[in-house]
């Protein structure tokens, strides 16, 4: 499963901690950054690397920075949190959640949002098993060939080989060439006597 990144912004320690704990509960594979400083927050979200932003919209610093917030391209990733009174914004949030909601309502809303990223986009569900093509490439990797050499042998572009390699690593959970070689031997893709480095 892919790593999902969250940014939590609130000046309140209790709210930050609480939201982080809830995210941990429903989503195991994540990185959470908790931020209490406005300028640091804007700096971070301008980088556009975050999957979701959990924003405390009651805090005065944010209400002052609405125009700035609108210029950030990530507004479509913001989940807004408020306390009792929802402040008026002309920004479209994916969801607005009152922190007074009971547990099941909070979970229901969050699951609705995060379920979306969990589900495969337009049928592009990649299976965990490696394809035949990937097995071909894996065999060459294990035999000690470089990306360029593999590309030449299989009549592919180097770029395509690199993409395949990334997918192999992600699927198997093995990053290094020696690790991939052991996998190839264990799965009889190559014979132990053929390998140069092991």
């Amino acid at each position: 499963m892919q790593n999902t990144s969250f940014v939590i912004y609130s000046p309140s320690y209790i709210i930050r901690k609480g939201l982080a704990a809830i995210i941990e509960k429903i989503y195991s594979n994540n990185t959470i950054q908790q931020i209490e400083n406005t300028s640091e927050f804007f700096e971070l979200i301008q980088k556009n690397e975050t999957d979701f932003i959990l924003l405390d919209i009651n805090c005065p610093q944010i209400q002052k920075s609405i125009t700035k917030l609108k210029t950030v391209s990530e507004t479509n990733r913001i989940v807004a949190f408020y306390f009792q009174h929802k402040p008026k914004f002309d920004i479209h949030f994916i969801e607005s959640i009152d922190i007074n909601y009971p547990q099941n309502k909070v979970f229901k809303k969050l699951n609705k949002i995060f379920g979306k990223i969990n589900a495969p986009d337009d049928g592009q569900n990649i299976p965990d098993e490696i394809s035949k093509r990937e097995a071909d490439i894996l065999r060459y990797i294990a035999l000690g060939y470089s990306n360029k050499e593999i590309a030449d042998k299989l009549f592919l572009s180097t770029h395509t080989v690199v993409t395949h390699r990334k997918n192999i690593t992600r699927k198997l959970g093995i990053k290094t060439v020696s690790g991939l070689t052991i996998y190839a031997i264990l799965n009889k893709l190559i014979d132990i006597n053929d390998t140069p480095q092991i």
Partner: protein, 244 residues
């Protein structure tokens, strides 16, 4: 929970037993009765602030050292880091090796495959050795020279050359991912190696690999949160002083 000097040393271990190996690096060994951290540190001639920084960083992932607590010297940090290196090479790695050897000796069905794992681990061992050697031969001496220059009235010109060729930011970027092979080894054992006969041995090995990985992570946290910011501040100060 933040650990303070008035807490009993015994409670530190109850709180998180992984601190045991940390205590040993300070030459603190079990049997301290009801003594507090402060008392034990005084007995053993250990800098209390430094001890608290290390233990807190180790116990609490989100702990961030306070600037006013960073009073201790760079050599204290590098000595500690060197001790962790020693711990990997003299304790953890041999432990893992002997487990793998035991697996080879007792397993008849998977012998060849486990021999492969052994070779793989040997490669890793060499990588780890190169990594720690580079730190001890290049990085730590650099940090010590920076500290020395920082404390001098007049800054020696040799430091200028030194800083031209290296900086703590370079260390941060070149600090390579030493955990990759460890990660692979864990996954091969967990997902792909046909289960050897001796299940307990295999479990023990995986357990040890997780512990080593965790300790390596904690080790780089000390470098990133304590050593790097400290040296960066000193570099800044020196550059400022030089430009005057």
């Amino acid at each position: 929970m933040i650990i303070t000097k008035n807490i009993k040393m015994a409670d530190v271990i109850h709180l998180n037993y992984h601190t045991l190996s940390v205590l040993n690096r300070f030459n603190i060994y079990l049997g301290f009765g009801d003594k507090t951290i402060e008392e034990v540190c005084n007995d053993k001639n250990v800098d209390i602030n430094f001890f608290l920084e290390i233990v807190n960083t180790f116990v609490d992932k989100e702990y961030f050292p306070k600037k006013q607590l960073q009073t201790f010297s760079v050599s204290l940090i590098t000595d500690y880091l060197k001790k962790t290196h020693q711990f990997y090479h003299e304790v953890k790695v041999p432990e893992i090796e002997s487990l793998i050897n035991e697996m080879i000796e007792t397993c008849y069905t998977q012998k060849e495959n486990i021999v492969l794992l052994k070779k793989f681990f040997n490669e890793y061992k060499q990588e780890l050795l190169n990594h720690t050697q580079r730190e001890e031969e290049v990085v730590y001496p650099y940090t010590l020279s920076i500290e020395k220059a920082y404390n001098q009235e007049k800054i020696d010109s040799s430091v200028v050359d030194l800083m031209k060729n290296y900086s703590i930011n370079i260390f941060k970027t070149e600090h390579d991912d030493i955990e990759e092979k460890l990660y692979d080894l864990k996954n091969i054992l967990i997902k792909y190696l046909p289960q050897p006969k001796n299940v307990q041995l295999c479990n023990k090995l995986i357990h040890e690999l997780f512990i080593l990985e965790q300790d390596l992570n904690d080790h780089s946290v000390i470098e990133d949160k304590v050593l790097v910011p400290k040296i960066r501040a000193m570099e800044k100060h020196i550059t400022k002083k030089l430009s005057k």
